[in-house]
Amino acid sequence: MTAATELRAKQDQGRKAAQNREKWASVRTYVSAAVILVWCLAPAYWMVVTAFRDVGYTYDTSLLPTHVTLDNFITAFDTSFGNRFGQALLNSVFIGVTVTLISLVLGVFAAYALARLNFRFKYLVLGFILGASMFPGVALITPLFQLFTNIGWIGTYQALIIPNISFVLPLTVYTMTSFFREMPWELEEAARVDGCTQGQAFRKVIMPLAAPAIFTTAILAFISSWNEFLIASQLSNDATQPVTVAIANFAGAQPQQIPYTAIMAAGTIVTIPLVILVLVFQRKIVAGLTAGAVK
């Protein structure tokens, strides 16, 4: 009894101190969050301000928007001079979604094998996959171009999708493997005892637990494909070009002029949908499924 009372007293004391600490902790959290926001958004803010500026005042350095115009956005979508920004946005979304889905499925397969199964040559496989991220990407283009020319793939979607899958797969496989290692696989076994097949157990028990990992990997894959430029600049054509290539196609009205304002408008346009996507997904998937596990 005495032990219990003592413990409670100690806990009470602890709680008060903890409340104080928590108050401070929450202040610190908000300050930190504010610093993060400024660091991440200040350069982006400059991008947006420039995007709304009249091209004749490109180099204006007033912090607040001046000479505001929508012209740059109109220019970006204007197709009369051969810009295909709208089409390119769709291409990027299509390529990004395909790459993400395929590499997630392949990555989950591979990671499951690597984390859960015992087999010979595991080291070889892991080394092989990691080795694929070691060669300078810039030197892959020439051989790839010749390979794809020979099989008539230049300018096709698959010529853009397959290299992107290969670029993100090593990271996908390694991330998923490292997370799968951490899974409480006993639950899967428990589910099987309850009559689930192995597949069902995996889908119904493990996948929800792995949601943060899968969601993270999906974002990684999508953004990496969304950002890819080098391969696309050589292997795409007018109809299949992704948005990174379309932006590189932006030209000033004069030969040597760099159309900063239009480029920044394009940057703004391609960033916003991604942020919305993340916000929506985050609420639905991460918040919902891992509410208990998140601290």
Partner: protein, 426 residues
């Protein structure tokens, strides 16, 4: 002991590869075979490849051509706006012997490389093109070893912009211009700037300095010729102007746009740039030099300096199957009517000398007379199939010399040796 065994296969793959047979190869060589095999008489649809069509001149031209040639239609393949990527895209497609790249727009500095790799159809004999009305430097820049390999399409040259309100009479020589730097000092602005960041523009500015002082980067045989008093004087001009502040410190970060920005902001007395600055400097709302913009030829040693030539030519791929159509299209691109359209619609400097005196054009593009002087006195950038190596050698060493990290003598001698080594091959 633990060994990261998983890294082994990477190593074995490497070893394995060594035992495979070679599949790569060098450049082209000569194309043999009859006219028919080479497609010299071929007619039919072709593709025209060019970088971003900034001011929408190519599409209307092609529409016009297609209306007149329903059986030999031209398709426009538009590349990116960046020269490096245009170059790499052409190389990839030539290496892959792509027959669909029939007519390609080549930057003047790529002509020699593409010609020497055997990718461009020589424009002689049956494929000859009349160049008599064209400005001579533009023809030279489209030729390699005395043979024309591409049709000069548009030209470009440097112009000296200056502040009419502050400079009483435009300087004709470098020394005269440097003498006027006191005016800049009195007004608290920079005196002169070109483009001195380490990129292609530095090659342009360096060769201009060397050529204007009477030197040359390469001699007539394409051998480097930099250990000369003239070359030294040229580079020394830039280096000492930078050292004494006549060229402001920030100019070491200038590409075309940063220089234009400084000049339009009223922060420079003299500015070397391309003709495109004219339109922007007189129209942009932020420009402070709208009413005081002066233009003259680049200053030289005793008179007008030697501008570096810019611009593009149109070449015909040796892999094209419809070369007869392609030749007609080249003639169409260089016709007076097309050239005039380039100038009026796209502010692209024509290659036909007569157009520079065309009153209607001059009213529209007041820089044309100055540009004509500039182009007539222009020297092509070093014409060499090793251009990518030559331009790197110039940039690397000129940059150090201008910043004062290396003596002008050492920089020139290293430039010389680097170019010699590059042209020696492996």
């Amino acid at each position: 002991m633990k060994t990261p065994k998983f890294l082994l296969p990477v190593a074995t793959a490497g070893v394995l590869a060594l035992t495979l047979s070679a599949c790569g190869g060098g450049g082209g060589g000569t194309t043999a075979g009859s006219d028919a095999e080479q497609g010299l008489d071929g007619r039919g649809p072709i593709t025209y490849v060019q970088g971003k069509d900034n001011s929408n001149v190519v599409r209307p031209l092609i529409e016009k051509w297609n209306a007149a040639h329903p059986d030999e239609k031209v398709t426009f393949k538009e590349q990116t706006d960046q020269a490096d990527q245009q170059h790499d895209d052409l190389v990839q497609n030539f290496q892959a012997k792509n027959a669909n790249y029939d007519v390609v727009s080549v930057d003047v500095v790529w002509t020699a490389e593409f010609a020497a790799k055997g990718w461009l159809q020589p424009l002689k004999d049956k494929m000859a093109l009349d160049t008599s009305a064209m400005l001579k430097p533009t023809v030279e820049s489209a030729s390699y070893k005395g043979t024309l390999y591409a049709a000069p399409q548009n030209s470009d040259g440097g112009i000296l912009y200056y502040r009419k309100d502050l400079v009483p009479t435009a300087p004709k020589t470098w020394d005269e211009m440097m003498g006027m730097c006191t005016i800049a000092e009195e007004n608290g602005i920079g005196c002169f700037a070109g483009q001195y960041a380490k990129y292609e523009g530095l090659t342009v500015n360096t060769s201009e300095a060397i050529n204007s002082a009477g030197g040359a980067v390469l001699d007539a045989e394409g051998k480097p010729n930099l250990n000369t008093p003239e070359a030294k004087e040229g580079l020394e001009n830039l280096a000492s102007a930078y050292a004494d502040g006549s060229i402001p410190k920030e100019a070491i970060t200038f590409q075309e746009e940063q220089g234009r920005q400084a000049f339009q902001d009223g922060k420079l007395l003299f500015h070397r740039n391309w003709p495109y600055v004219y339109n922007l400097a007189v129209t942009e709302g932020s420009s402070k030099v709208k009413d005081v913009l002066g233009m003259t030829a680049l200053p030289g040693k005793d008179g007008p300096g030697a501008s570096t030539l810019g611009g593009h030519s149109a070449g015909m791929s040796v892999y094209s199957k419809n070369k007869a159509t392609a030749l007609d299209f080249l003639k169409f691109l260089t016709s007076e009517e097309t050239q005039k359209f380039y100038a009026t619609q796209g502010s692209l400097a024509p290659v036909l000398g007569a157009l520079y005196d065309d009153q209607e054009l001059v009213t529209k593009l007041p820089y044309l007379p100055v540009l004509k002087t500039s182009i007539e006195n222009a020297e092509p950038r070093p014409v060499t199939p090793f251009y990518p190596a030559v331009t790197k050698a110039i940039q690397e060493n000129a940059y150090s010399a201008i910043k004062g990290e290396k003596s002008v003598d050492a920089a020139l001698s290293d430039m010389q040796k680097s170019i010699e080594s590059a042209s020696a091959g492996q």
